[in-house]
């Protein structure tokens, strides 16, 4: 995973709440077995509408998504994160995320930034007034900036550290293999195995 420090880019104002992962990428787009190429499925149903915000030319090249509350609820499909990344997004800003989506984002290196709903409203306004305005997502300082607006965001220390360092979770855990082996030695015998002997 690439390290995430400071990202500066233009933003897409998505004035919708409860954007579940079926909206981010419908199930019919989940059949690919590769890790890339999911941008076609991003918001697929909504993109049929020429007026949908992502289809408007002033938002070409956006890299920051600003969305309403409860973004990424529903299915655990990490493809939702990949579709956003494949399209070019580096960060998503919302007042609340589905837990699994946020965890997936942290795993894949897409920064999920939680701010107050009021901050989301102000960012929407700033971006709609001037689509060329840039948003700064600053992970070392844990804040977002846009024009005069500076807003702190919360992110758990562990995820923040991993993103800043670009660390692979599996490498971290495998370094602690001795703990896992010790645990396994003490598991009760009545726990089931998936093969019958």
């Amino acid at each position: 995973m690439d390290a995430f420090t400071v990202h500066i880019g233009t933003a897409l104002p998505l004035r919708r709440s409860n954007v579940d992962t079926d909206q981010i990428i419908p199930a019919v787009y989940l059949k690919r077995i590769t890790r890339t190429g999911f941008e076609d499925g991003l918001f697929a149903a909504w993109r049929n509408d020429p007026e949908f915000v992502l289809n408007r030319p002033e938002f070409d090249g956006v890299t920051v998504l600003v969305a309403g509350p409860d973004f990424g609820t529903g299915s655990s499909r990490e493809h939702a994160v990949w579709a956003l990344q494949d399209y070019g997004f580096k960060a998503v800003i919302s007042s609340r995320f589905g837990d699994i989506f946020r965890a997936n984002a942290g795993q894949a290196g897409l920064l999920a930034v939680t701010v107050d709903g009021d901050v989301v409203n102000r960012l929407w306004q700033l971006v709609e007034d001037n689509p060329a305005v840039e948003i700064v997502v600053d992970l070392p300082k844990s804040h977002v900036r846009c024009g005069d607006l500076v807003a702190d965001f919360d992110i758990d220390d562990y995820t923040r550290w991993r993103l800043l360092e670009g660390l692979d979770d599996i490498d971290i855990t495998l370094d602690r293999e001795a703990y896992i082996s010790t645990y396994e030695e003490n598991r009760p015998s009545f726990k089931p195995a998936t093969r019958l002997f």
Partner: protein, 476 residues
């Protein structure tokens, strides 16, 4: 952590699985059972291969084919080449990494959350994960079970553990008794409508109280299944005699001395008297009635006897805007009685309501009636075992002679990943778990219902409960 203090059940299960705990870091949680399917695993296996890693515990890992598989002609090759390639990737990956797999055509194949419990693999006090948000289903047994993404699937394959931050605890206490024709599905839809789709975020929920204790394992699975629909990380029910009776004798359940040791352990998992939850919610089951959804998230629910709500009845802001969008998407006018809404399709199935009890309940309502000529009814068993048992009981004939389609096992129209989909503008009554826009097919409109409401709706062509049906002529 707090082992000498009073603890809730989920805290006990958590504490038993901590392989490494360091202040300021997530706990490293050991995973007892990792369930795998074709859609969220290929990139995880590819990651293992690229890094030269193996599956640490294939003996604690089980794969099945469910999400994209067809529910007709299961014996032939899958017609859709992209679906076929994804299923073939699972078969190749399981063979390469030594993971047991139940493929299409195997008697144990089915929806991953139906297969685990029916094999007796899901047991109290376990940690269970799967790359699927409805993994919460397994909490019905008193297991700590939650959905994960593909990166975490790879992590569990490689290490049999997951770094996890300790969640908060919530109790949902359901007192009283459910009235006739009111099911576990109605209860959980009413709960979500009451608390909202985000109320559970960050919590592991314990469902308790007389109404929960009175439920069968199937009913408990329906409730726990939909924990994710109100944002909860997991939902659990304390194991009791109902749980033990369900498990005893199943292929993977402990036997002999192990059974006694296990039951002793399982009994001790119950929340300590006096343990404190971070939040408590109370519901009176006796006040509930059949519940259905009108909108585009599972919190958009009302009693079947009620009306499509106005957007203005929602708080100003995102909730009201969401309701306005939902009314437009669903093609509904505020004030319309729910019972007047006509449907094109009825779907009985899914990990929420695709088990034997669900099929029996739907068949009992359908028996002696005809499916409306305006309705296509699909009955999709949750597993091949469920299909075979239902056929042994003659339920397939009950459905087909009423005019319904009887299918093979899989996720099917719950998520419209295989050919079982709604056409744009089509409306369904569905026993599944999500009424999201396009969930059952682009432009499709979904009303979430219980199996008995689904069956009654198939007969009348409009959202209905069994109480709305004319009596069946005797001798039918």
């Amino acid at each position: 952590m707090s082992s000498n203090l009073l603890r809730t059940m989920s805290e006990k299960v958590w504490d038993e699985h901590v392989a490494r705990a360091v202040p300021g870091e997530p706990d490293l949680l050991y995973i007892d059972l990792h369930l795998v399917h074709e859609v969220t695993s290929p990139q995880a296996f590819e990651g293992l291969r690229a890094a030269g890693r193996t599956v640490r515990r294939p003996d604690l890992t089980l794969a099945t084919e469910d999400h994209n598989v067809p529910t007709v002609d299961a014996d032939g090759p899958i017609a859709d080449p992209v679906s076929r390639a994804q299923v073939q990737a699972l078969r190749d990956n399981c063979a390469e990494f030594g993971v047991p797999l139940y493929s299409l055509g195997d008697v144990e194949q089915g929806i991953v959350h139906v297969v685990g419990p029916q094999l007796g693999l899901t047991q109290p006090g376990m940690t269970v994960v799967c790359g699927d948000s409805h993994t919460s289903t397994h909490g019905a047994f008193g297991a700590l079970a939650f959905g994960i993404g593909t990166s975490e699937v790879e992590h569990v394959l490689a290490t049999q553990t997951l770094p996890q931050a300790r969640p908060k605890t919530m109790a949902v206490t359901v007192e009283g008794a459910l009235p006739d024709d009111v099911t576990a599905k109605d209860l959980v839809l009413a709960l979500i409508a009451e608390v909202g789709t985000a109320a559970g975020q960050g919590y592991v929920v314990e469902y308790r109280g007389a109404a929960i204790e009175a439920l069968s394992m199937e009913g408990r699975m329906t409730i726990c299944n939909m924990s994710i629909e109100w944002g909860a990380k997991a939902g659990l029910v304390a194991p009791d005699e109902t749980t033990f009776a369900y498990l005893r004798g199943r292929p993977h359940a402990p036997a002999g001395a192990d059974w006694d040791a296990a039951v002793g352990h399982w009994r001790a998992l119950a929340t300590d008297v006096g343990a404190v939850f971070d939040r408590e919610v109370r519901i009176d089951a006796s006040t509930l009635s059949p519940f259905v959804t009108w909108g585009t998230n599972p919190g958009h629910g009302v009693p079947l006897s009620a009306y499509v709500p106005t957007a203005e009845s929602f708080p100003e802001g995102p909730a009201r805007q969401g309701a306005e969008r939902a009314l437009t998407y669903m093609g509904l006018s505020a004030g319309t009685p729910m019972r007047e809404i006509a449907v094109d399709t009825v779907f009985v199935g899914s990990c929420t309501n695709g088990r034997m009890e669900d099929l029996r309940a739907a068949a009992a309502v359908i028996g002696g009636h005809r499916v409306s000529s305006a309705v296509r009814m699909l009955v999709v068993p949750g597993s091949t075992r469920v299909r075979l048992q239902a056929e042994a009981e003659g339920l397939d004939k009950v459905f087909t002679s009423a005019g319904a389609e009887w299918r093979g096992a899989g996720c099917s129209m719950c998520l419209g990943m295989n050919p079982d989909q709604l056409a744009p503008g089509e409306r369904s009554a569905s026993t599944s778990n999500r009424n999201f826009e396009g969930r059952q097919g682009e432009g499709g409109r979904t009303h979430l219902v219980s199996p008995v409401v689904a069956a009654a709706t198939a007969i009348t062509g409009r959202l209905s409960s069994p109480a709305d049906l004319p009596p069946v002529a005797t001798g039918a």
